[in-house]
Amino acid sequence: MTAQGGRDIVAEARGLVKRFGAFEAVRGVDFTIARGESFGFLGPNGAGKTSTMRMVSAVSQPSAGSLSIFGLDPRVHGPEIRGRIGVVPQDDSLELELSVRLNIEMYGRYFDLPRRVLRERTDELLDFARLTERADSKVDDLSGGMKRRLTIARALVNRPEMLILDEPTTGLDPQARHLLWERLYRLKREGVTLIITTHYMDEAEQLCDRLVVMDNGTIVAEGAPRELIEHHSSREVLELRFGTDAHAAMHDVLAPHAERVEVLPDRVLLYVEDGDDALRTVHAAGITPLSALVRRSSLEDVFLRLTGRTLVD
């Protein structure tokens, strides 16, 4: 699934740059996002994802390059663009002293929505976020997962064509995460364009039709999650653990048994077509790891291949 083929384009960047003083956070990136697509920015902390998001949401101005959102220039049409998108910031930024309901209603007022419309819409959104019973609680008293769902509900108050989520599930427990993903699928089915930044590869694989991998302010790869894995990694990965200090020395020993070997501080990764097969040949060669694990290749491996670093340290 790609952005070509005459589909409606909602966001397009060419040579996009963001500088903060002498520091270049985003160093000339290109991407095109089609309507209805769910598009991911994957990368470690400091890769330039959030800076890119802030430019796409017309909050911060590009330092150079061109950016067009809904065919409009954010430098000129900031308010119009922001009126048509929803933003879920990394740190919620909710009004802690106000009630759950007022948080949504007040936010809706910023979009000039009439109160009558807002009351109805807030009821729907509270239901969507499964917060109806907590409607009159102070936000301060909610759990982390509830706050996150409220932030998403709040971002939907203007019925946005495009929803921008910055690290939507960071800091949530697995249960809260799955509930959130389920709500996001629902939005996607309804045709909302999703833009998601994350440093969780499983999240990217689950949610994104297409993604770019960012590192050091640049895009190092682009494609559908499966395409990226097929293109940049082998089918399976054999993970071996030895004694703590032994890993570095194992590279040359293991190299003949795999297409590629990566040595990490706590384990050695062997990129192979068939993991069980590889493990047998390793054993046959008289090498005995403390533990062994065979798994399918993931975006984590793509990232490691492209940047030489892991996503989450």
Partner: protein, 262 residues
Amino acid sequence: MASRVLPAFGSRRSLHIFERNYYAYRSQWLMFASGFFEPFFYLLAIGIGLNHLVGALPVGGRSVSYATFVAPGMLATSAMNGAVIDSIFNPFFRLKISHTYDAVLSTPLDVTDVALGEVWWALSRAALYAASFIVCMVLLGDATSPWVVLCWPGAVLTSLAFTCVGLAGCTYVRSWQDFDVVTLVTLPLFLFSGTFFPITLYPQWLGAIVSVSPLYQAAALLRGLATGQFDLLMLGRAGYLVALGLAGLWLAARRFRAILTP
């Protein structure tokens, strides 16, 4: 007219920030209401102790009690202090420290809307406090003329002028420590702008310098209004405050634009 002279600053959407503050502070009405007592205590102390020590002072052609002399100056000062705190401190704190408005900035509102919204809020508070100050003046017998009601628009004008200047100043604030600089400006203004004694006590050259102080102009304007002694000079004083406010707004708009569009 004004919109052609001034660069665009904020929009009608700024009113939503006023609305937001209304909800956020709704439960704290007692705190606002109790603000009434602060000027009351100050004026009461001056009435009890200093009227007796200082005696009558001439204002215009008339001789008035010390409290009657001081009250308009205190009103002007409280308008200045409130305006400076609300326009420098609040936008700085909420935009940079508490990040109250991070989420708001991804709606159609921008930074100038937020700043302007804070100004609307500050001005309505100032108008409320000015009204209660004037009530205190009347209750304590410090008002000698029914024209004292005109002090209300006068005090609001004073707030407006200082708010606009403060808004420009807000764009220069980098950290908390810069607030000491603000105090170093407002405190001498408060103490030496003819608030506590007529500027005729200064040597002539010093009096000329002090008369440039916007707080002196505001205090003199309010003093004339409070005692019902009108002269043409008061138009000049009001004009001075209007000009100051416009200059502040012009600078603020330019600075905010520069920050927003690098």
